[in-house]
Each structure stands twice: as structure tokens, then as C-alpha cells.
């Protein structure tokens, strides 16, 4: 538990029903959790909270996940922030776009929460 202490995760998704599970999950794994339900708030929370990792949904109101990703990558101070994109679009091309725009990983819904937690921990070296 204490190995994950101090690492901060931002969950950016407009679906309350998945936010509920992800938030619970990440908190139980010992992470500090921030939540945003649209693209603009997500960027705001990145600026204020400086999360180590962002779980970023592609289809969000305000700004899409792709745009948020591109803006995070364009900001020199946020370079080290890890990004996992989550999407209900299963197409290979979408995945290629996400990776090209700077996402570190890309997971298609529905995904295994266990796998998600493993990926998150790998990326944060915990």
C-alpha cells in the first residue's frame, strides 16, 4: 500500500458510472485521485494538481481526449505526465492516432480493471 503513496492520478471521463469504479479502485490501490468530467476541467486539474498519470477518456464534452492529450504534451513542464487513453472506439486507426499524439497506452472499453491497475503501476514504477 505505502509503495503507491504520493502518486497522483487524474481520472478524466464524463461517464459517472465508470468514474465510480475507477475512483474506488485507484484509491484502494493507494493513489491520490482527482476527477474531471470534461476536457477543460481535465486540463485545469492537470495544471493545479500535477497528476503523475491521467486516465483519459476520448469522448468527452468540451475538449476531446485527443485534444487534451496534445495540449498536455505541448506543455514542457508536464512532459513526464503519463497518459492512458480510454475509449469505446475499437478501431485500430483511433489507437494509432492516440499513440501518435503522445499517449503512453491506449485501452479499449470494456477493459479488465486488473489489467488497468497493472498497467498503471508499471508506468508509475510502483
Amino acid at each position: 500500500m505505502n509503495t503507491t503513496g504520493g502518486k497522483k492520478i487524474l481520472i478524466a471521463d464524463d461517464e459517472q458510472n465508470i468514474v465510480l469504479s475507477l475512483e474506488f479502485l485507484m484509491k484502494r490501490e493507494g493513489f491520490d485521485v482527482l476527477v474531471a468530467t470534461d476536457g477543460r476541467t481535465a486540463l485545469q486539474k492537470v495544471a493545479e494538481g500535477r497528476p503523475d498519470l491521467v486516465l483519459l477518456d476520448v469522448m468527452m464534452p468540451g475538449k476531446s481526449g485527443f485534444e487534451v492529450c496534445q495540449e498536455i504534451r505541448a506543455h514542457p513542464e508536464w512532459r513526464s505526465t503519463k497518459i492512458i487513453m480510454l475509449t469505446a472506439k475499437g478501431r485500430e486507426t483511433e489507437m494509432a492516432k492516440g499513440i501518435a499524439l503522445g499517449a503512453d497506452a491506449y485501452m479499449t472499453k470494456p477493459f479488465s480493471t486488473k489489467e488497468l491497475v497493472t498497467r498503471v503501476k508499471e508506468m508509475l514504477d510502483v
Binding site: E15, N17, I18, L20, S21, L22, F24, L25, R28, F66, E67, Q70, E71, A74, L86, A88, K89, G90, R91, E92, T93, E94, A96, K97, A100, L101, T108, K109, P110, F111, S112, T113, K114
Partner: protein, 710 residues
Amino acid sequence: MSTEVRLALAVFSIGATVLLAIAAFAAALWADLDAGERGAAALLFEPRVIRLLALAALAAAAAAIAFAPFLRRSIGTPAKLAEQTRILLGANRAYRLAEPESASLRALAVAINELAGQRDALHDDVEERIRAAQASLEEEHNRLVALMSELTQGIVACNLDGLILLYNERARLISSVLAEGRGAGALIGLARPIHALIDKPLIDHALDTVRLRLAGARQRALATFVTAGGAGQLIRVQMAPVLAAHGGDALSGYVLVMEDITRSFEAESLRDRALDALTEGSRASLANIRAAVETLAAYPDIERAERERFIGVIGEEARLMSERLEATAERHAEALKARWVLDEMRGADLVAAAQKAIEGRLGTAPEVEPVDAALWVKADSYTLVRALAWVASRLADSFGVRRFTLRMTRAERLARLDLAWPKSDAPLADLAAWDREPMRLDAGPGALTLHDVAEGHGGVAWFQHDAQTSCCRLLVPLAEPGPETVEAGNRRSESHDFALFERAPDAHAHDERALSELTYTVFDTETTGLAPGAGDEIVQIGAVRVVNLKLLRGETFDQLVDPGRELRAAAVRIHGIDDAMLRGKPAIDAVLPAFRAFCADTVLVAHNAAFDMRFLRIKEASSGVRFDQPLLDTLLLSEVIHAAQDSHRLEAICERLGVAVEARHDALGDALLTAQVWVRMVGLLEAAGVRTLRQAREAAARTRYARVQY
């Protein structure tokens, strides 16, 4: 030399001969006299010399006048006979010479008529044999025509100028879909341009593709594209080459196979969307349920209140999924996107086409990185190339980017098509917004976005900045490298041969073109009276097209016109059109644009054209329609070929040239008559050395009728 001049010369020479005879007689008499007699004669004749000379002149004139009718017969009649003989030689085989009064000439005329009879018998015999030989050919042709009319696809054959050489009924139906919103000129018809229906750049692009493939010989030389009708219908067009008869890969034209895919696409698209809604729409709900279930399973110690919330999520998402399933099953019509028919092509060809397009737009060619020859993609190359050209010109306009590099590389099951430029500070947010911006390259309709183009390929597009460069990247699907298919020698079709393809590309101005190969609109008008200057108006326009000296009875123009005034009784007696028939008909200013479109790119022909043109020209200002095409007049040209004939009225010419007179004084009926006359006249003009449009105009201008003005 004309008959009249020759007659005058003959009369003059008779007078001169008489004078000479008198002079010779006088000289001989004088030579016979001795000196004394000469003195006496001088004394006798000198005071009367004026009277004597006048007497001689009178004798000469009397002789000339006495001989004139004879001369007129012996010079004028043979000239007339010669012209009539030419008619039966060329234009009208059934024509026979009228027998002149003079016995010797009558014998000549009878002999010529007999010769003509013999010629006709021989001719009929030969024709009969040709008919027999052609019967099987005809049968084959009919089979082809029947097949074409049965096809559910539209077939249009064109030569390289884009002129239509052949089309079937289905093509006519599809053309009316394509014509919507394109103005009055968008008509299908023999020798009309296909470009009026399908944009020329689209055709040119497909032709380039076909040529490239012919040269490559690795695949079927076909190109496919989709074009839209005025109301958003989708027409899929496949282009196949027609090769020149003399061998090699030279094109002589192409065949377009057209199919309206709107309906089949609608059904397919609905299925696609249902599938989409069921898969992608379910992913989110499933994810929520799965996450909740897995959380419950992983943390059995979860608090009761929290457990209730997770179970609530599972219940809600399960209900949402059921509702979505129902809604999808029931869904009917929906807004539809265009379907894209993707063509398999070499990546290098696509990049080369994009390079050309960008060079055309910016003036400088982008660099091209070599593309793996085995890299093939599925693409709608036309829109893809236009999209890249649009991005390039947008970057040039907004950020002054001038140097571009094109590259295409493989990325697993996709191909990356990059338009790169030296890294600039163009904000990514601005560039990302271009994704949804309508691309307007020229005034053409249909503004797709970059997003649409990417979607149409089942791909995506985005902008990114790398260390050294920036690029716009499009992912497009890969295709298997094209197989070797048809061998070069087998491409030629054995089944039919369209001589029309041999028409040379339009390299010359109309002026120097042979009369026999021009396209004509033969027309006639009926009017309220004979004085356009005094307010008389057109009440009917009739016209028919003549292509390759063939009268196209299926392509006519026939329109009554409300003149906005009463008809003169004399005019009603001639054409039988009365005020009641014209009520509710369109006004001339509405009819002329349609008529102008009907005769676009043709040579106008009319009988006594000056009269009809006067009515048309008076309306140029009010209708805004100009009739500035070349114009020929069968009245003047009849005078050119048959100067010795008394009448050049339409009926008289019809009789001479063997054209049966059906309905007269109906504009379309008269136009049809004039057209038949014109088709026969072209051969006679050629025999008289008048072969080109310019020669015909110049010959007509020299005739005496040419000076008549209305």
C-alpha cells in the same frame, strides 16, 4: 465563268463577226477599184460615212439579236443539263433530266437518263449484295443494342475530347440525376460533352489513372470514382479505356459504366450504423458493468452503502444496454454520409498525383521521398489528393509554409501518408480545427472536410509537431499489391468496333474543319409576322441535331413561345398557330437560354438564316443570350451549288435533292426538312470544292442572295 457572262460574250462575238464581214467586203471592193473609180467612190461615200457606219452597226446588232434566243438555248440549256446531271450523279439518284426543246440536246438528255438508269440498276445490284453482307453485322449490332438497353447500368462511350459517342437508356436516366442543379447545358446527347454532367477534373483524373495502369500492365486498367447528383444521390462511375485500332496502348476514348448506388448504400449504411451502435455503443456500458463487478469481486470488504452504489451502476447500465438494443432494432432513416468506393492503387502513384496537385496549386512541387514499390493502398485518390492540396495551400496562406515533403510509409496494416514541412510554430489547436473545416479549393459544389475524407477511408487525420518537422498525417488502409491480370494483347475487344472513336481530338478551330465532321443544330422559327423591326415576335422554335451527317430524330428541340402580342392573320394562315395555342407558353426570354444550351458547341444551320437570326439577335439584349456560333444558310449554299436553277425555296430544293416534303410550316417539321437537305448538300458542296466551314461561309457570302437584309 457564269452562264450569263458566256451568253453575253457569244452575242457580242456574233455582232463583231458581222461587222468584220462588212469591213472585209468593203476592203475587197476598194482593192478592186482603179484610181479614178476610187476618186469617184470617195466623192460618193465620204459625205455619207457616218450613215454607212451606223447601217453596219445596225446590221451587226440585228444579227446578234436574231441569234440571241438560239444562243441562250445552246449555252444556257447545256449548263442547266450539266447541273441536273450533277444532281443525279450526287445528291438524288432518282432525279431525271428534263427534256429540252432542242432536238439534239433532247437526244443528249435522253441518253444521259438512260445511262443513269443503267447506273441505278448496277448500283442496286451492288447495294443488294452489300445489304446481304451487312445483315449478319446488323444482327450483331442489334444484339449489342438490346444488351445495352437491358443493362441496369448506364453506359456512355466518349472520345478523348469527352464527346459522347453512344449512350443507353439507363445512362439517360442517370444523366437527369446528374444534371440537377447544373443548369440548362447539362444534357446527354451524341457529340455533347460529358463534362457538362461530370466535372472535367474528375474525368481527367480517372483518365490519368487508366493511362498509368495501361503503362504498368500489372492490373486491370480501370478507374472508379463516385460523383454526386444535385440532390445528393451517389453515382458510382467506372471508367474503362477504349484502345486505338492501330495497336499499342494509345487511348482513343473511354467507356463509363454508371450506377446509382444511393439506394443500395442507404440500406448498407443503416446496417453499418446499427452494427456500430451495438458494438461501440455497448462498449462503454460494458466497461462500466465490468469495472463495477470486478471491483465488487476484488474487494469483498467493501462497505454496504458503497456496495449498493456499485450494484446500482450494474443495474442501470444493463437497463441502458437493453434500451439501446431496442432502439437500434427499430431505427429507421438517419442522416447518411457518403459511401466511398476505394480503388486499389500503388502508393507511389498516389504520392505522385498529390505532388502534381500541390505543384498546380502552389507553383512549386513538393519533394517526394521514395515510396516502397510493394506498398499499395485503398484510396479514393481524387478526394485524397485534393485534401492534401487543400492542406498545403491552407498552410501556405495561414503560415507562409512553402516547402513541403510528401512521404508514404507502412505502419502495420495501415499506410501513413504524410505532408511534412520544416517545423513551424503553427499552434496545434488551430491546425486541429482544420479537421472540420470545409475544404474549398475551387467554386465546385460539395465541401468535404479533412475529417470526412479520412472517415471515408476508414482512417484518421491529424497534425503533429516532431523534433525537426511538422506534418499532417493521414492513415489509409493498405491493399494487397495488384496482381498481374489481363495480358496486354487481350485487352482489345473483338466483339465490336465503334468507328466514331476515330474522330481526331479537337485540335483545330471549327473554321478549318471538314463540313462532314462538324456537329450541327438545324433550326427554324415561326413568327407573328415578317417584320421583326416592327415588333413581330417568335412563336415557335424547332431544331434537330446532325452529328457525323446523321440526323438525330431523337434529339430535337420543339417549343411554342408566347409572343406577348397578337398574331397577324397572314401568319396564322401560314403556320396555323393561333393565339389560343400560345396561351400559358413560356416567354421568349425564358426559352432562349434553353435553346442556346441545346445548340452549344454546334454550327447553326437554317434556311434563309438571315430572317431567323434577325429575330434571335433582337432578343440578345433582353434575354442575355448571344447566338455567336458559326452559321450556315441552306438558301445561300443552294445558290452556290445550283446557280442556274430558278428557285431556291425550300420545297424546290427538297424536290431537286429527293427529300420528301411532309409537314411544312411547323418549326420542327421545317427544321427536319432543312436538316435532310443539309445532309445531302454537304456532298454536293464537297464535289464543288467547298469542304471546310470557312470555304462554305466564303462561298455563301459571294452569292447574290447574301446581300438581302431583314
